[in-house]
Every structure is written in structure tokens, then in C-alpha cells.
Symmetry: C2
Subunit: 674 residues, 2 copies
Amino acid sequence: MVATPTASTSSASQLETLCINSIRFLAVDAINKSNSGHPGLPMGCAPMAFALWDKTLKHNPKNPKWFNRDRFVLSAGHGCMLLYALLHLTGYDSVTLEDLKQFRQWGSKTPGHPETFETAGVEVTTGPLGQGIANAVGLAMAEAHLAAKFNRPDCTVVDHHTYVIMGDGCHQEGISGEAASLAGHLGLGKLIALYDDNHITIDGNTEVSFTEDVLKRYEAYGWHTIHVPDGNTDVAAIARAIEAAKAVTDRPSMIKVTTTIGYGSPNKANTAGVHGAALGADEAELTRKNLAWSYGPFEVPQESYDHWRQALSRGAAAEAAWNNTLADYRAKYPAEAAQFERQLRGELPQGWDANLPSYTPEDKGLATRQHSYNCLNAIGPNLPELIGGSADLTHSNLTDIKGEKGFQKGAEANRYLHFGVREHAMAAILNGLAYHASGLIPYGGTFAVFAGYALGAIRLSALSEIGVIYVLTHDSIGLGEDGPTHQPIETLASLRALPNLLVIRPGDGNETSGAYQVAITNRTRPTALILSRQAMANQANSTAAAVARGGYILEDSNGSPDLILIGTGTELDLCVKAAAQLRAEGKNVRVVSMPCVELFEEQDAAYRESVLPSTVRKRLVVEASSSFGWHKYTGFEGDSVSIDRFGASAPGPVCMEQFGFTVDNVVAKAKALG
Amino acid sequence: MVATPTASTSSASQLETLCINSIRFLAVDAINKSNSGHPGLPMGCAPMAFALWDKTLKHNPKNPKWFNRDRFVLSAGHGCMLLYALLHLTGYDSVTLEDLKQFRQWGSKTPGHPETFETAGVEVTTGPLGQGIANAVGLAMAEAHLAAKFNRPDCTVVDHHTYVIMGDGCHQEGISGEAASLAGHLGLGKLIALYDDNHITIDGNTEVSFTEDVLKRYEAYGWHTIHVPDGNTDVAAIARAIEAAKAVTDRPSMIKVTTTIGYGSPNKANTAGVHGAALGADEAELTRKNLAWSYGPFEVPQESYDHWRQALSRGAAAEAAWNNTLADYRAKYPAEAAQFERQLRGELPQGWDANLPSYTPEDKGLATRQHSYNCLNAIGPNLPELIGGSADLTHSNLTDIKGEKGFQKGAEANRYLHFGVREHAMAAILNGLAYHASGLIPYGGTFAVFAGYALGAIRLSALSEIGVIYVLTHDSIGLGEDGPTHQPIETLASLRALPNLLVIRPGDGNETSGAYQVAITNRTRPTALILSRQAMANQANSTAAAVARGGYILEDSNGSPDLILIGTGTELDLCVKAAAQLRAEGKNVRVVSMPCVELFEEQDAAYRESVLPSTVRKRLVVEASSSFGWHKYTGFEGDSVSIDRFGASAPGPVCMEQFGFTVDNVVAKAKALG
């Protein structure tokens, strides 16, 4: 599949230039038409994109989901017109000329940054800088893992590269450093990044803030590095660099390609002015003259199409060859093939959740992080696609699965991931594992408060509709001595405010099992499991199944309730105990467990009314977290036992008592409702 | 002030060992008593801490706030017993032996991680890894800035170093890389970090996830690097390294000090087991034997105290010498001294806000980011302590002040900060500038959605009670074409849920002026200014002064209101226009502007009732953001025009219309209230 770079001839070079300029002018024209966008990158990166997409990239435009394709990530997502032009030129049905004319318009397939859920052929959603390269580390890990697991000496069914184009901005973001350090450690030889070294960011020349030696830094991470000094015209050198990178199989490669941003624009090239604004009609015309481009807006010469669309036959042949390999694999290794193909179809194995534990009040109360551990260990053996780990808090998050060893260089079939103290990269790498779309179910743990380090990537899990599972332990002031820097207050509200994220705070063992059922089966939205450090009782009436409804009546008095206590997590048992005391005083009290507000809100109105009758306005929410957001359920007449200040360093039970998370205070607040 | 390391003699070495072991056993004993904490770092880092604090650090324990002290940052904040032991041993009143016995207990001065607001002598709040080294970059920038600005050839009134102890975890966090890259770029020669290279993190040996060449990476950033191979016993080598680092004045220095975590513990040293758990009584006893420590728990030999507390006389002499320098400066440079001392007192200059603009409806409607620019330029010339910039979005955030040049190596007196694309480090550096406590008022801009990249540090601004100003522009789907990756939905809720953060979303020019008055005068809590990309009208009845009350009646019908429209930011004018239409239909409509919910909630009940009478339940909130949190004001009977899904890429006005931010929809929703 991989063409070696041909020796430059004059005619090849003219054709190459035509193909490269086709990218440039599609970008210029689309951005001019929308009068919004970033022409600088597509104009500067067109040669490296040509070298990669025309000479190396293994993909089948007619089947963007073909499993064994190379993955391409435009980490510098603002340059999306580069990607849309490539998809169009190589023959993807998802991006027609008409789509390019609708760049950045309502409902178009060509939004302002690449969105994987909008446009077939876009592997990952990028734009927030640094995410793409970290996603790419996850993509490359997925490939390495599946290759190590499924390939056999006589049958290579998993074999593809992950390519990235990234800019100065991506390099400045800390998340890229975190991910690159891990990629170097893991020796991800099939990860190849092209660094668009154009010396321009929005504030002007990188001289104002970014003068480090980037390649030396990557060498320190353990990467192989190459520099192509002329990325504007020397396509052969770029192609050679890519081949050299592919030849180095024990380390990822960083190819620095020095370019001119906005190449070809006589007045705007090499300025910040071409980074994020349309060239305008006049400058576009001057650029046409300068690059001898005699074609009109959105006009692609047939010769260019003819060359670019050789990708179609190459792609079809590549996929056909792989289909033969797969058939061979199926014949030789039927069991492995069955698992492999099941995963690719995204089907869960029969009985994956058969061993999820259930509990009665007689069972010892445990922390939900411990229940989570038991769940992971109950499903792990039946769910080989489950892969994950922790950001260096394995024995606090309890994210390990017995007997599973660490994914390491030379041991990529292992599925426990040691992310190091790198929460943001962890989340983005989990996204990458999910974006790989090979059935892997990625999970990762850290302390709940450090979701604040990773929110940029968690947001993208939600936006991109991928079922990453976040295991967030130490979920309240109840964690105790580590103090306010480690005690979440606002974290639950931050996560609940995010669209398309399930936030589940289970209240005992059964609800934790239910939380895993929800998390594992939701493959198009991420889940944040909010888990305690400290133990709590198992409830008599909790069930795993109830979690899927988000909220439910845990226990009730006879007759219609005078008041409703709504509890989550470690505070559920407080509600039960307070209810008992209130009932002893003659009140009809309902206890509602609300492990997942989002799922509750998806239930039909009748169900919601049955749980929280609109006539019962005396409602008390009990949750050791900010009250922010709970007034939706308590209204003007209800109240909450919550914490709207930072916590304190003291033993957990002392914190809970000092901040009012006691049966007496819940009873008192409930009575105060009248 | 700076002692050069003395040649090792047998007795000196014994005394040094006694002093070093005093740290170790105070840590062991306090952590054993609380049965919670991290003994590994204090035991391993005691020698480097001794070398730094006994031989180099310029500080006056009797005046922890002395301006010209060296700043010490324990970036690896979990090792806080190291810092508490040092404060105690050198004679700070804030940490007595009794305080050490109260380690991690309710109300103590020795919480589980160092908190600057709890303990005099703790310069910054640490614990969340990577923050401290980034704060230190801010501290060193503050020193460099003030030195360049105030020092004169014959009078050096600003002259101190910033020292850091950091571990593997800090190096793994991306924020440290962002900050270090900028520190290298700026050539912060008085920033010296000691890297506790102990090869152990919580998940075990760093071999599982962290095998990069750290010093090579720092060289790539432009740092000077040194390695001390024996950090366990070779105090003289550490001291020499610190002196060598001080001698390199054009670059920051990273000193890698190879140590053994939990040094001295026969069974737990060099294991993850000593990182975050008490040694226990038995192992403490074995450690005493191993290190020949014949003293009981919390017993410090008098010889050790005698030596350590030489810090008192050294500190007093240093401060006295500086006071003489200051007197000299006052005499020679009275104007400069007046400004310098005013800043140190934290007093704002008379008339600092005299030029803040005010507007009438006849004035052209502008985006609030443009109003913000006008405010910065109105106050900037009168407020020399205002210092800030942008994370590479200067011309989008409009954070520049005319005529102010960039803070660069060799031009540190300039006050415009080019942070590069490094939002998280920016926030932590702003924290560092504020922690310096020299009157600097730091601000920094990025797109509002990227607050999600910086939340870890924004949280610490709030927790640490420091008045950092965040300038967050492009605050809604109204930003348009950049699409959902750039359009905040949950951001306002995330920020509002954070305790002690003022979130201000002004609705026109007057309110933006008011927002700056609040932000500048609030020096013990941070402010997030939420500003639009797009223009809006100036209101007839808005005032700057009203912003300080958080919410106020912008306009009203005669008679008691039938319904109340509550608006913020760009949606305020929608409320005004909808109200006019509703009034034309005979309704009594009040429009409440609510630029800052937090300030409104601080008003007395009578004021709040006067604005939002509890009898008026028909309330409609209009804000182009998540509805999450607004039910506190709308209850069960109100509603909101908001957006609880991700946005879309299209021109801003199209997005606003498609998502229902139109007069017609506001009117319809208002009428639907009944």
C-alpha cells in the first residue's frame, strides 16, 4: 500500500504543485465565502498533507470506517479546511464541493472545527489545542494493543499507523507534553507526528513566548526526531522523512516541517493576519497570481482530481487485501476472530455482567470505590475489551483488575494503563482509545477534584459522543485529612452542567453495580462515576436496575409523603436514618435515591411525577457537595444539606459532622421545612 | 545573607545530621500521631531542605511577610510536614510543637496540604501537583518585574530568589511543562528548583510511566541544569549546586537531587508504601535505631534548635539591612518609593477608576470584550500595578493596554504578558503574581470555554483568596462559526459553583465598567469576567455602581410586576425588548439585570426581596448558557431561555436564533408562564 517517494521529475513536480494548490485554493475560497476561518494552516501545510495523504496514508474513501485504515488527526483543528479539502479531493462522499461552499454554515458537514460526529472521515474532534496529539497517543495505543493481542506470526490483522499534524499551539499546551512523555515511554513506533513549524501564533511571532527547542524536548521524551527545513516546496523531503519515521518502529516520531503560514499570499504570508481571518477577495486574487493559479473559486482542475482520486483504487485494493487477511484469520484462528469481529461490531459479550455483585443490608458496608473495584473485577474477565487504569492513583482509585498487568513497551497486549500523574492526557488518551472505534471500552481513574485538571478533555468525550468511563473517587469532604485542595465541592455541579455526560453517584453496593451496567452499555456518551473514599451501609431496597432510571423511591411511609428526602452516594444512608427518626415522630417520609440526575430527567413525566409528586414541596436534598443545581428539585420551598464553601483538613467523620452531615442536622432541616 | 557552604568537618557534619534528622522525625512523629500523611518526601528531602533553608534562604521567621524575603514553594505539597518542620525549627510563631501535634486535625495550623491562608510562612497553597512550580514562575516574574521597575543603579530595593522543591509528580503534570517553557523563554535567573528525584510515585517505580530525561527536557526549555547524585547525605554538594544555580543569572535552574524516598526507614524506604501512609509505631522505632535517633516523639534536641534558630538573627539582620536600603531609596527616589510602598500596602491609587467610561443608549453598542478593552485602557495608565495579558489571544480577548510592551527577557519592567497557548500555566502564574503580595493586580485572558483547561488553577485562586482577574471572552454560542468546541455551555455553571469566585457577566458598557470596579477592588477573591464576542445595546438605566449589588431592577412597569425577566450579558437587551412587547400587550413586566449572582446573594434579604419579590413567581431567566443553577431563582413555576445541549458552527446571529434567543421566543416563553 505504501508508495516510496518517486524521484522528482519536472512533470511530477508540476502535478504535485497542482494537487497541493488545489488544497490551498479550496481553503482560500471556502474561507472567503464564509468570511470566517483559518486559511494560514491549510496554505502552509498543503505540501506535507499531500506527501502524507497522496504517498503514504492507507485509507479507503468509500469506507471511512474500514478498520485497518491509518488514522489521521489534525490536532491543529482550526486548520480544518485542510482536512475537508483532503476528504473532498480523495473522494469521500461526506464532503462534496457543495459542502465546502457551506463551510461554517448552519447544518453543514464542514463546521468551524472538525467534529467526528458530523463528518465521516474526521477521526477525532479537534480545535481545543493539544487534544488531538493526545487523542493520537490513544489511537496508537489502541492499535498497539489490538495488534499485540490479535496478530499471529502468520496473520497480521491489525496493522496501521496514526499520523498527526500539529502546530506551535499544540506544543505549548501542557496536555501534549503529558501525552508525548507517555508515548515516548511506551515506545509507540507507529505514531508519527508532523509539526507545522511556522513560527506564528495569534499573538504574532513565536519569539514572544515560545523559544524552546521542541525537537530536543521530544528527544528527552524518547521520541525519534527529524527536521525538514523546507516544508513549502520540498515534498520529496517530507515524504522521505515520513518513510524514515515509519522505519523507526521502537519509538514515536516527530517530524518538524518548517513552513510559511499562509504560503502564497503576497501580503499576508508569514503573519498572524493569515492565521484566523479570511484572505479577502483582493488578496485571494493576488495569491492566485502569485501561485499562477488560473482557476476560479471552488474550481479544481481535472488533472488534480484525477491524481488525488487514485486514492479510491488504492483504498479499495487495500481494504480488499485486508478482507482476505481477515478471512484467512477467521479460518486459522476462529475463536480470536470471533472476539475481534464482535468487538469491531461493538457488541458486548453474552453474560458480561453476570458476575456483578448484589448486596443486602447484612453485607458489610464498603466504600463505593471498593464496590467499584469489585465491579471491575467482576466484569473484567468477561469483558476483554475493557481497558484502563489510573493517573497514578491505582491503590486509591482501586482501578486495577486482578491478574491484569501493565501495558508497557513490548507488553502492549496487557490492558492495565499506568498514565502517570497526567489527568488531562489520561482523559484525552481514553478519548483516543474510544475514537479508535474498535470496541475498546476505556476507563480511567483519578480523584474527583482533579476532574478539574481534565475538564478540557472530558468535555470532548461528551461532545464527541464516546463512551469513556471516568472513575472519580474521593468524592467529598468525607475524604478527610487531605483537606480542601483535595475535597470536591463544585466538581459534581461542573460535571452535571456538561451536556451528554452521565454523572452517577451510587449510594451503596447495588447501585454501584447498576452504575457499571449503565456505564458499560452507554457507548455514545461518557459516564463519570462519583465514588467515595469512606464506607457506607448497603440499603434494603436498593437495586442495580433502578440506577438506569436515575432516581427512584428507595423507601416510603404508608400514605402520601409529608416530605421527601433526596439523597445520593454516602448521604443516602443519612437520609434513611433521618427518615426513620422522622417517622418515629409521626411524619410520612419518602426517601428518594438519585444516583443519576441526567437519567432521571430522561424518564417520562408520569414516572418522574410518581417519584417526586409535584404536590409534595417539602423536599430536602442531602449531598456532601455544592447545592448548585439542586434547586430544580427543591424549588423555593425545599432545602438542602450541602456545602457551599471549601472544606477543611481533618479526619473524614469530623469534616462530615462539622459541615452538618449528621442525622440530627438532616432531621432538623427536614423539620424546619414545616 | 548568603553563607557559602563550609568545608565539611566531622562535627559540622554531625550537627547537620542532627538538624536534618530533626526534620525527619518531626515528620514521622506528626504523621504517626495523625495516622495520616506523607512521610516519604520529608524524610528524603530533609537534606536538600537543610541545605537550602540553613545555608541560603533569606527570610525572617519573625516577619513572614517581609517583602524582600526569598520565596519558597513546596510544589510537592503532600510533603507538607517538611515545610511545617522547617517553619517550626527556624522559629516561625505560626507553627509550634503543639501545632505539629495537631497535624491534619480540625482547625489546626498544619492542614494536610500547605494552605497559605492558614499558616504564616506558607507562601502558596499546594497539593494539586504541578501548581507550585507554575506559581513559582509567577513569583519570580513578580520579582523580576518589580526589580526592573524600581531598582536603581545605586539602590537595590528588590532582590530575592524563588526556590521550589518539586517531585516526579509535578514533572508529569502538563502545567509544569507549560510554565517551565515560559520561564526558560523569559530567562528567569532567580528561579531555582530542586527536583526530588526519588523514582517513586503512588503506582510504584517511575519505570511504569515516567522514563523521560527530565533534565534534557529542561535544557530544551532553556534552563540551566545540575545533577546531585547523592541527595541523601551529600549536603555540601547540594549547597554547592544551589550556589552554582545562583551564579547563573540569565536562566532558571533545575537541580536534580537524587534521593531515597522515606530515607532511613529500614523496611519502607524506596517504596511507594512510604509515600502516603504513616510509618506506624514499629517502623518509626526501627527508623530511630537505623538513624541513631535517641529522642522521643516530638523531641527536638537543643543543639538542633540552637543551630536552626540562627535563622532568627540572620533574618532580623537581613530585614534591618533592607530597611536601611529602603530608607536610602526613599531619600533618593521619593516618587518611586511612594509608589513602591503604596503597592506593598495594597492601597489603590487615588482616582484609579476616574476614567472608567459610562454610556447612554445613544452610544454605539459594542461587545463587552471591547468595553473591557476600553476599561483596561482607562484604568491602566492610573494603575501601574495592573499586569497581565493573554494566552495567545490578545486580539480576540482585547487584553492589551495601548503603549504597554511585552514583559520579556531584558525588558521585565514591561507589564504585558504573552503567556503563549498555555491557559493552565497562565492561571497558575497569575496566582503566583498575586501570591507575591506586592500589590500587583494580575489579569489574564482566554476564551471562556478554555476556563476548562485552567480550572485546576482557577480553583486555587478561589481557595487561596487571591484577587486574580480572569478575562474570559467569547462567552456563548453567540461567538458563532468556531462551533461547539469553542462555545461555552457549562462554563458559567462550572465557575458559579466554585466558592469564593465572583463571576460577572456584564450586560453593556456601564456594567462592564462596574465589573472592573468590583474586580479591581476585590483583592481577596478572584473574578471571572464573562464577556461577549458580539455587540449589544447600551441600556438606559444600567449603572456601573449597580454591579456591586450583583442584581438590580433595570426597568419596571408601573404597579407590581406580573412577571420578571432576569437577564445577563448579551441577553439583557433581549429581555428589555421582550418586556416592551409584553407591556404593549398589557403586562406589568420587570427586567432584572443579574451580572453577578454571587454578589446578589450577599445583599441583605430586604434588598433581594425588593428586586425579586417572593410573591412574583412568574420569572424567566434569559442567558445563552446552561440553565443549570438558575432554578434557584425560577423555582418550579418559572422557566428559562437557555441552552442545555452543545452548540453548532454557524454565524453567531444564526446560532442565537436557532437556539431560541430571539425576542419572539422570550415573549412566547414569558406568556407561557401564564
